[in-house]
Symmetry: C2
């Protein structure tokens, strides 16, 4: 073997999930599953690779040009590692459009890759809960998805002091930009990027950036004005009927009648990056002063199926990434401290007992649902074996040496209290169950 | 929008998992999780991309040259989509070799990609349960892993008429090839591929292939002889002490003393493809005459960590792929028929009731753990709504129109018996729970 070793770190921007990390992950994805399933959503999944074209058509310039991992396969197919789930969902719905019953309520938990400069809350490989509702359009959809989003965050014990869903509408945004700000289509492209800059740059740098990008001073002032206005105020400034304004007003009408009001607010500065959104859009914000940022978001998209089939199918959905959310849970101390506990049993071993005796003991425990392992290793000193149990957080150790075996008994040691209890081998399971909890 | 549509099929050799497919998948991976966790294994996971070199060093020629998806990233790193898990496990153990307590018992459920000509039981993207035990060496490891393998298959109701674990040993195989068959190192390379050919080709074609590959006739006869021999017969033909023979004999000693004997047999024709195996090797076979093939397998590898660190860490493990296993479950009819049942509730809607009333009903059910959806869609005729419930396999529909609302009541319709029950809105949850099961 050469002296040159391969590096042990994971690929840049990706994570190794050791068992401790995995327990946190499994805990929060299980909770998410529970919530979305209670709303009637069914799990689905697609392949990790999709044709590059599926994303090129709709995922937005930045993602496609700068962020997609893509390559040509041996059959000369231009493939991409998925950077998001929605195009796959649209493809799968299109593939079965004849037999599928609308509305379709689907969710998935999957991994994605994007070229990113790794930073807090952003990695190259992330996992995401993706929730989509497809079928006939209607405001109730929007409400339902919003309710799923709010209840997902609430499920972890978060309350209205910790997060807020900011709501806007793509059509309404375009109407206001056109009619109130008098932005040209080119200016609108710049402005859609400005919103993000506005939240990150100091005021003067932000205005400088707008000026350098060709937005006249008067429009910058007008822009600042509209960002601060209420929904009714902005809607009042539009001359004709605005479908977007109606979609927002109706949605807030429903929000006010149910329990979601404390978690939701209109915010005209929310635009969402992806180009495929067409109606109401949502973004969940962390309210912690140290971490004021978008946790996740989504919205309505109306034309995605159209890439695959002559069909008009409305859709609304969101993606909920694990990286930012874990930050949120840690910031607000919402991860239970007992998540790392190991409720298993260690069977200690002695040289004077045939190994098959331990296997029998282990099988009895296992079949009755009690997780256990037999101690291995060359050093079989009792102290060493107990030390191993402690280091693994194991609560009970079982001791059965030659003496115990010949006397037909087993010793159970509680690793927390150090208490030892002697029980009959013949009644082992029955008596151990009384101690084990 | 252009008239040219993107294809709706998934990438060649990959699968779309619709909710029905997903239920089967989730069912069997949940059972697998339960079994491996009962043996004390902890879940972990690595990234989908690993450096190409990690596989180049150890995964075996065929996988690396013909099967790995690899590409160069924007930082000129030569990356691969993982074709298997074990090198990642080895890397992660090496990365924490200072703090990790041996033995490490890890498992993962992850997706992998290999260039394959798609065929029954082989796809390009597959999911796999991967189980590894790393630490000090010892025969008990081999037994434990074997026991996990057998208990995994048994968990699904399979018995000894349906599957068998065939066992061999890499060292023993090499000893016999060298001493009994008198094969040269070059001939041994050919012979290791011959085993696979032997099970698939007619006898004359198989011998022809061996001859064409340069194996002399006398050695072909000798080879056929050893393939049919028992462990003790073969071991008796070796002159010196064979560590491999001892590893096998000791393992079978333990198998005979516990409950695994009916599921295990020695088979000298098992070699396993991966080059990193060094000791006992296992392959689980489907015994169905129509489907006689390997389901999954594994074995001992001793040097993997050495790629990353100057360390000798024994390991033993296996990978259990979903594609062949689902075939096995279907062949032996081991998938329960009620797996596709939907135990949810549909709340039907009327135009004369404010929508927020339905939301309240839905939230009450959801919070108490009852999965439900509100009917959407333009066509609100009762017949249409019930039809939807039936098509989704939903068991209960809830009816609350303007009349019911004003009279403070709710109608529950059992979609199977068509029976309708009237309950008070004020006592809705309490009374519904008596009907719902």
């Amino acid at each position: 073997m050469s002296d040159k070793f391969l590096p042990t770190n994971s690929y840049i921007g990706t994570r190794d999930f050791y068992p401790d990390d995995m327990r946190v992950r499994n805990w929060f994805f299980a909770k998410m599953r529970k919530v979305v399933e209670s709303f009637g959503y069914e799990e689905m999944l697609g392949p990790i690779l999709e044709p590059f074209d599926v994303f090129a058509a709709k995922s937005g310039e930045e993602i496609v040009n700068e962020q997609v991992y893509h390559f040509t396969d041996r059959g000369e197919r231009h493939m991409a590692i998925r950077p998001e789930m929605t195009p796959t969902v649209a493809r799968m719905v299109a593939a079965k459009s004849g037999e599928i019953r609308y509305p379709v309520r689907w969710y998935s938990i999957a991994n994605f890759m994007r070229y990113e400069r790794p930073q807090k809350g952003r990695l190259r490989e992330f996992w995401q809960l993706n929730v989509d509702l497809l079928g006939e359009s209607g405001l109730e959809y929007d409400y339902e998805i919003l309710s799923v989003m709010v209840n997902l965050v609430k499920e972890f014990g978060a309350d209205e002091t910790m997060f807020k869903v900011k709501i806007n509408n793509r059509r309404f945004y375009n109407d206001v930009m056109r009619e109130v700000v008098n932005a040209t289509p080119d200016e609108m492209k710049v402005i859609s990027k400005a919103v993000d800059k506005r939240s990150k740059l100091p005021r003067d740098k932000y205005e400088e950036w707008l000026k350098d990008s060709g937005i006249p001073g008067a429009k910058i002032d007008r822009l600042e004005e509209v960002f601060g206005m209420s929904l009714s105020g902005l809607a009042g400034k539009l001359t004709g009927d605005s479908q977007g304004a109606k979609e927002l007003t109706d949605l807030f009408g429903l929000i006010d009648k149910t329990g979601l009001a404390p978690y939701c607010e209109f915010d005209f500065s929310i635009v969402r990056g992806l180009e495929y959104y067409t109606g109401n859009i949502f973004e969940v914000y962390d309210l912690d002063p140290e971490n004021r940022r978008a946790l996740f978001g989504g919205g309505r998209y109306d034309n995605l199926i159209g890439l695959f089939k002559k069909a008009e199918v409305s859709g609304i959905g969101f993606g909920f990434g694990d990286v930012t959310f874990q930050n949120f849970l840690e910031t607000h101390m919402l991860i239970p401290s007992d998540i790392h506990e190991n409720n298993g049993v260690l069977i200690t071993v002695f040289d004077d007992v045939d190994y098959s005796e331990y296997i029998r003991l282990s099988d009895e425990l296992r079949v009755s649902g009690i997780k256990n392992t037999i101690y291995f290793g060359g050093n079989k000193k009792m102290g060493r074996q107990f030390q191993y149990a402690e280091s693994m957080g194991i609560k009970f150790a079982i001791v059965m040496g030659g003496n115990e075996l010949s006397e037909g008994k087993v010793i159970v040691k509680d690793m927390t209290t150090r208490e030892q209890t002697e029980i009959k081998r013949a009644k082992f399971l029955e008596d151990f169950r009384k101690i084990f909890r």
